[in-house]
């Protein structure tokens, strides 16, 4: 959509240049990546846009003990990465169900975090996989956890003059698996509810560690800590899960909107919790 008060468009070549423009521009300036959220509405307040597509922020790189995903990496680039498919499956799964192919070709993972909508599909996997977000300012590189990054629906801690540079996710050792599940009205809709689950198992094939995060059912993505504790020591047996997934209800506070009623969100959150735990577990045991 047309940005009715847009006067300037910057397309810097380096991160430093970008930061300096962001800091020195006097009026309202906003970052644009793929633009698939940005251009969906007319942001009347915005006078300038800073396009980050030339900054080289689209990369997926192995570092020491973790992977670095540049904030301007598109979903298609994520889907083309074997490294992500094998080690961070929940991210790969979520990328595979975002919108449709034409959107996935331009939309970025950083844009999803920038928009910070509670249903953002890229977000729960970052909680579940223990990601760290790297924010660049002119003076420093800050590292924050997703829990501290999102502050409400469409709100995050990013200030003017800050760019989300990359996402770092630690590799796990031993046997582990992750999964992402989404309920929506059709194939291109935003999530009615979504979830990401990561589990590790011990030698007895019992869950020894779990991280579970639900989206679209609270003002921000929420961790289901009680449920995480409850699955530890189990083998994700369906009958047991049936009971213990009820614990998601303690942390979610869904609303009713055109996509769904709160009641439906309560019901399906349990269903996808069970499904995602079982799938993550199956992947951990190599099934």
């Amino acid at each position: 959509m047309k940005q009715s008060n847009l006067r300037e468009y910057f397309r810097p070549k380096t991160l430093d240049e970008a930061l300096s423009i962001l800091n020195s521009y006097e009026g309202e300036i906003k970052i644009i990546a793929g633009g698939t959220d940005m251009l969906a509405d007319d942001h009347k307040e915005i006078e300038a846009l800073l396009d980050i597509d030339q900054l080289g922020l689209n990369y997926i790189e192995k570092a020491d003990g973790y992977i670095r995903i540049g904030s301007a990496t598109t979903y298609t680039e994520i889907l083309n990465s074997d490294e992500i498919y094998e080690n961070f499956r929940a991210i790969w799964d979520s990328a595979s169900v975002v919108a449709d192919k034409s959107i996935r070709n331009i939309a970025t993972i950083g844009g999803n975090l920038g928009s910070a909508v509670p249903s953002g599909d890229a977000i729960p996997p970052l909680y579940a996989l223990d990601a760290t977000l790297v924010i660049k300012t002119t003076t420093e590189e800050k590292k924050v956890k997703p829990e501290d990054f999102f502050t409400g629906p469409r709100k995050n801690i990013l200030k003017k003059g800050e760019i989300l540079k990359e996402i770092q996710i630690p590799y796990s050792d031993g046997a582990f698996g992750s999964d992402f599940e989404k309920i929506a009205r059709n194939s291109v809709d935003l999530a009615t509810a979504n979830i990401a689950v990561f589990v590790k198992i011990d030698e007895d094939k019992k869950i020894s560690d779990a991280r579970i995060a639900l989206g679209a059912v609270a003002p921000t993505v929420v961790r289901a800590d009680k449920l995480e504790k409850a699955v530890i020591g189990t083998k994700a047996e369906e009958e047991k899960l049936e009971e213990i997934v009820k614990a998601v209800e303690d942390v979610i506070s869904p609303i009713s909107d055109v996509r769904s009623s709160a009641d439906y969100r309560y019901k399906v959150s349990r269903v996808i919790a069970k499904r995602a735990i079982m799938k993550a577990y199956d992947r951990a045991i190599g099934k």
Binding site: S4, A40, D100, I183, R185, N186, S187, V188, D189, V258, S260, S261, Y264, K267, V268, V271, I272
Partner: protein, 798 residues
């Protein structure tokens, strides 16, 4: 596929405009620009029901670029209607170009014409309006309450004032046979209430118009319209100017599904502004404005049906409550059609329809693919399935034994439009569909994945029809159905067709070109169809009721036959033989059995024209004398997730009885498109308005979703069946197809869901949420039963 005895028909041919569209060269209405063109924007009411107490436009006039600002005070005091399908006597005149009494969120309060769209928008913000807010009635039930606010104070039907008591604009009560006796004689009576939703037409191209003043004092109108003559009548009436003052141009359309069967005010407003300012005026609705100006009528359909114990239908009574929105764009015809169409589904001696059409404080609704018939199918085809189960008869068999047959009387647009069935592919469609979907194997086999018992499969079907046009044996006093065409030969051997039927994107004009080529014996590429305008094209009704090929094609065939006769006469003179001795094929004329010794058609035309033999041209005019049903049978297989209520259609068979296939690509396009649209109606599509304030909740494609290609069955899992039939009244045996292909889809999905999980949702759409709630309800009952009967739990398991 039927055996093909034709040279052109039945093949896969590119639409004549396909290349222009694919390369972006074709100009749609919204692409047109004229020097000095102004842009029109409409100030829309934020309230569902209000009176404009005062309105001040002085500040708006001061905005740079603003040329004109109008309110209800400036527009003609002429009560108007917005379509011209029906004869004027049955149409409802209930609106002005701009209103003082606004009746829905998005209703028209004022209009601005400015040199840029931005200036026009800016000016809208500067108009000061004081509203007196009135209580609103958002649903038909609320509007029918005795204390509901009166939405209209005046309306005319034809030129007679309508006495409006409350919000009912019309009622109907028609009986054929003796319904009471029919029910008394019945062994089994079923009574159900079904509700339908309010999907938006959702076509790609938004309503657009450009009105351009001409040097001769008249106005050229370029618009997204389903009928240039209907539009000309609408605009001339609402502006109080003679029809000949307007020249409406035929444009290619980017889909309409009924959204452009009426003028949605903006056309008339731009015409008015163009006449006032003397400058071209362009208007284009935003997507939100599309959501606030069209959609399918939601209905409450009560059906009561009586059967003998062997399954013979003895009596049927349908009662319809029709919500027409804030203006009766369709008059009361949707009430009459939904009710009437229920009578056309099966053979039944005793019939009754009752109904009421009701104004509500929601956007005006229109025809949308099927014009009341998807609603009729939803009720009847759900009911038939329930009846079949109760009677212990196979649902396909129950339908088969009650089918209307060749020779039977058929109500094409309710009981007012009567024709006789001359062709039927019903038996072929039922037999083939049943086989292709795997009916017998699958009806009792619900667990496709033993490790995922919560996913259940089911198969279901529904059948039905839509009329092909609105022709009746005797001229009727309900709907206009008449078409003309002029055809002339050019000196290079090409034929040029001039007619007025709109091509909504379905390939209607290409089909007309095919008819001309087939009849005369020309190559398909040798036929040109002029877009033309109402100045040059003879009269035609708009393209609706699946009549673009069946109805508008008839004079095309007639004109082509006449032109062919001229060419044969001339060729005979050239060959020095009789006209019966020559034939035309692939644009060449030759004596029978001597194809190598040919004369190009071009030479024949040149000889004729240059020798003063006359002009190879003809104008034909036809009133179709029938409206043959194109029969449809839809079979689907679904997977229902009993934990989430999600439904996936995994296999589908669309079967059509469309008579002669004119262009196979276009027929298949309609079949798959119709399936898609029907599935969306079944599962997700609905526009939602706040029950108190009337505010739209999802007036955008972000909120209102249609299904995507990924929600469709895999292409390999869609079977398309075309019955081998020939319609004697049709152009070269063809019938319609565009609407029938959607009508039975939703109940077919419903019946498959029922087969899978034993749950029925009677109100559309069958959202995952409604389904899950119903599944849980049934499960709870099952659990109770399971105390005594432990295997019941198998049926619907969490």
């Amino acid at each position: 596929m039927p055996v093909n005895k034709y040279d052109v028909l039945g093949k896969r041919l590119d639409k004549i405009e396909a290349r222009q569209k694919a390369t972006g060269k074709l100009k749609f209405t919204g692409d047109l620009k004229f020097p000095g063109m102004l842009h029109c924007k409409i100030l829309r009411s934020p309230h569902a029901h209000a009176i404009v107490k005062s309105i001040d436009t002085s500040e708006a006039f001061k905005v740079d670029g603003v040329v004109d600002v109008i309110t209800y005070e400036d527009v003609p005091k002429i009560l108007s209607m917005h379509q011209f399908l029906h004869v004027p006597e049955v149409m409802y005149y209930d609106s002005y170009l701009l209103e003082k009494h606004v009746r829905h969120v998005g209703d028209r309060v004022a209009a601005v014409a400015a040199t840029t769209e931005e200036a026009a928008k800016e000016a809208l913000k500067k108009i000061k309006v004081e509203y007196e807010i009135l209580p609103a009635a958002i649903t038909a039930e609320d509007a029918l309450k005795p204390d509901a606010a009166q939405i209209h104070e005046e309306a005319k039907r034809g030129d007679k004032p309508v006495e409006l008591k409350g919000n009912v604009l019309d009622t109907c009560d028609v009986t054929i046979g003796d319904v009471d006796k029919g029910f008394a004689d019945a062994d089994y009576v079923i009574e159900r209430t079904y509700r339908t939703s309010k999907p938006n037409n959702g076509q790609l191209e938004r309503t657009a118009v450009v009105c351009v003043p001409r040097d001769d004092g008249r106005l050229d109108v370029y618009a997204t319209s389903q009928g240039i003559h209907a539009m000309r009548m609408n605009i001339s009436h609402s502006l109080g100017i003679p029809a000949s003052k307007l020249n409406c141009h035929r444009m290619y359309l980017g889909g309409t599904f009924g959204a452009h069967i009426h003028t949605g005010f903006i056309e008339n407003i731009c015409a008015f502004l163009a006449l006032r300012t003397g400058r071209p005026v362009r208007g284009e609705k935003t997507r939100e404005e599309m959501f606030l100006s069209c959609g399918r009528h939601p209905m409450i359909v009560k059906v009561k049906a009586g059967f003998t114990k062997d399954g013979k239908l003895l009596a049927l009574h349908s009662d319809v409550t029709d919500d027409t929105g804030s203006y009766a764009f369709s008059g009361s015809s949707k009430m009459a059609l939904t009710a009437g169409f229920t009578l056309s589904m099966y053979k039944c001696p005793n019939l009754r329809i009752t109904g009421r059409s009701v104004y509500t404080n929601t956007p005006p609704l229109t025809a949308m693919r099927g014009a009341g018939n998807p609603q009729a199918h939803w009720a009847v085809e759900n009911m038939m399935e329930e009846a079949a189960e109760d009677l212990g008869i196979d649902p396909i068999e129950l339908r088969r034994m009650n089918l209307l047959q060749v020779g039977d009387r058929f109500f094409g647009q309710g009981p007012q439009v009567i024709s006789t069935i001359r062709s039927s592919g019903n038996d072929q469609l039922l037999e083939k569909g049943k086989k292709l979907i795997g009916w017998d194997e699958k009806r009792n086999n619900h667990i496709p994945y033993p490790d995922k018992p919560w996913i259940r499969r089911g198969v279901g079907m529904a059948r039905g029809f839509h009329t092909s046009g609105c022709g009746s044996e005797k001229p009727n006093a309900f709907i206009i159905d008449h078409s003309c065409a002029t055809l002339k030969m050019n000196e290079d051997g090409t034929a040029q067709l001039m007619n007025a039927a709109a091509d909504l994107g379905a390939g209607t004009l290409s089909a007309h070109a095919s008819l001309v080529a087939e009849v005369i014996g020309l190559k398909y590429e040798d036929v040109i169809v002029n877009l033309g305008d109402s100045d040059s094209a003879p009269f035609d009704g708009p393209t609706h009721a699946s009549r673009g090929l069946y109805g508008a094609g008839q004079p095309v065939v007639k004109a082509a036959e006449e032109v062919k006769q001229i060419l044969l006469e001339w060729a005979a003179r050239m060959f020095q033989c009789g006209p019966e001795d020559v034939e035309i094929k692939e644009s060449k004329v030759f004596k029978h059995n001597e194809p190598e010794n040919y004369i190009p058609v071009a030479d024949v035309v040149r000889k004729g024209h240059f020798s003063g033999w006359g002009a190879a041209a003809s104008t034909a005019s036809v009133r179709p004398k029938a409206c043959p049903p194109h029969f449809i049978a839809i079979f689907v297989e679904v997977e229902v997730n009993t934990l989430t209520g999600q439904v996936k259609v995994v296999n589908a068979v669309s079967g059509v009885d469309t008579g002669t296939v004119v262009n196979l690509n276009n027929v298949e396009g309609q079949m798959v498109g119709g399936l898609h649209m029907g599935m969306g109606y079944a599962l997700i599509e609905d526009t939602i308005f706040d029950r108190k304030t009337g505010e739209p909740k999802n007036a955008s494609f972000a909120g209102f979703h249609i299904l995507t290609v990924k929600d469709m069955p895999d292409p390999d899992n869609i079977d398309l069946v075309i019955a081998d039939t020939f319609e004697p009244t049709g152009p070269l045996g063809a019938k319609g197809i565009g609407e029938g292909v959607t009508n039975p889809v939703a109940p077919a999905v419903a019946n498959a869901i029922y087969n899978a999980v034993g749950v029925r949702i009677n109100d559309l759409p069958m959202t995952q949420e409604k389904l899950l709630a119903k599944i849980k309800e049934v499960e709870a009952k099952m659990d109770d039963l399971a105390m005594t009967q432990k295997n019941v739990k198998e049926t619907v398991r969490e």
